[in-house]
Symmetry: C2
């Protein structure tokens, strides 16, 4: 470890931006949080926005490379970095990076997303998560296993020989919000109170385990309402039930029978998934922090190694 | 058949009201459509509203009984008609009707809803659909089988010996609307154009048949977006895909392995379910029209028979 900055790392998603001044091992020395997501800026606005955010760091450390991952590389982002197709590991992803031109910043290296197709030919995509997976893999010897990135659009990726061989997106977080805020299910919900035991979440996870057919999810979700109507769950536990149901169903489908996976994400969400996983026999082990930065460092090193 | 009015039949749901002047066989001689649902009126407002709507019919036919079913009997409706518990047939439902007092109308008989519990103790409820099922059963000799009422909250009921022995609600219609209007899935959708072959709907139904685990529904729904991103479905077919996926999943779960059922509902929705059912090996036979009115007539007859 050292405290010498080696990289300016930018995690630029749909709705927010985080930049880190990081050392060679991924330890972050300084951080900038900004609220303009990559999809909230128009054509030509990304470069000046990032340049103004990074002006101080860049003037103090003019030699540092700048790497960005996430929706910044989407067609509607700053510059398109076309998807690398599965199987995709460090070499394939590093080779598909794109340089976004910037006089002020000396160019910004954009990491591409990854795409795959399932057995029936249906496509799936990720942007940003591939870099986090590379970061989690950076500390691993084998580079095998299942990697989960929970969230609005959760990703479950299968890694073999250090490469992402396939993955699925589950729109768990977004479906939860839409059902809670825009259907009858939200009507009786009260904000979650502090409880020793969040009974609703556990009940939801157990209900997910008891589902028999896929469409039963549309029935079990409706139980959010009837549990409230019949007083079987307190109003502050109804959203917990719905969350447990959807997260539990996602874990059982995403794991596809695997009994362990590595989970990458914000601590509170990671804990929620670990709690559900434990009830379902799927052990979820947290990845180290700052996987996006660690993945970008790995990408830079792969590019540098390839040039030798 | 006769054209002599025998009943004023009121189908008063959450968001609208339909009243029919009907003969003894359920043929409707006149109809009133009104837009005040049972849950959009406050305490004390239901009786004067209905009295004003029915004034002409009542003055011409002062002797006619008035029967209402639907959310009008909910706790937040006109007067609560507590749920009849499964198993519930004509006798149980007729015995649980409640008279809502009205000087102008001479009282209005309210048909109760039906409740049940599944094997795990989770409750479910219907209000209005039980009367439609009784109407569909009125022409049947055996009174056995599966009855489907598709919609915002679809109901799948199992009938044995003329009684509803259990049912499940699937929030298909409401989940479709919430996902279409309040998630990323709707962004690329265009209104459905007239097509000889609605490829999206069939693709969605087939995707439902291919789901392996319940949580896969959260993945297959996301494919609405990636099929659009990759140009595999035209923008006007994306909502069709999502609809086919959810309707297909509902049918497979609701039928629980049965290969036929009776479907009760508006013609366009019934046709959509029949199309999906045909792809999935579940034959859906439409019930006669005006099942709510026919069910109310059966309820009145059961009450009259019980008094003899």
């Amino acid at each position: 470890m050292s405290d010498r900055p080696e990289l300016i790392s930018v995690d630029w998603g749909t709705s927010s931006l985080r930049a880190y001044l990081a050392d060679a091992s991924g330890v972050t020395l300084a951080e900038i949080d900004a609220d303009k997501g990559a999809l909230s800026l128009g054509r030509g606005e990304h470069e000046p926005y990032l340049a103004s955010l990074l002006r101080d760091w860049k003037s103090r450390h003019p030699e540092l490379p700048i790497v960005a991952s996430g929706m910044v590389g989407a067609r509607q982002g700053w510059i398109e970095a076309p998807y690398a197709s599965c199987p995709a590991g460090l070499a394939e992803i590093a080779a598909a990076t794109v340089i976004a031109p910037s006089a002020a910043l000396g160019g910004v290296r954009i990491v591409p997303g990854v795409s795959c197709r399932d057995a029936r030919g249906a496509p799936d995509v990720m942007r940003g998560e591939e870099t986090q997976i590379l970061g989690a893999l950076a500390g691993e010897r084998r580079g095998e296993g299942v990697y989960v990135l929970p969230g609005t659009h959760s990703k479950w990726a299968r890694v073999e020989g250090g490469r992402i061989v396939g993955f699925e997106t589950f729109m768990t977080g977004e479906a939860f919000a839409a059902l809670k805020d825009h259907t009858v299910l939200g009507r009786m919900m009260a904000p979650a109170a502090d409880r020793t035991e969040p009974t609703g979440f556990a009940l939801g996870v157990d209900a997910a385990a008891a589902l028999q057919r896929p469409g039963d999810l549309l029935h079990a979700a409706f139980m959010t309402r009837t549990f409230g109507l019949f007083g079987q769950l307190a109003p502050d536990q109804l959203a917990e039930y719905l969350s447990g149901l959807l997260v539990g169903a996602e874990i059982l489908a995403g794991a596809r029978g695997a009994n362990s996976a590595t989970v990458i994400g914000a601590p509170a969400l990671v804990q929620r998934y670990r709690t559900a996983g434990a009830r379902l026999g799927v052990e979820l082990t947290p990845a180290p922090a700052h996987c996006a930065t660690r993945g970008q460092i790995a990408v830079l090193k792969a590019i540098s190694d390839a040039r030798r």
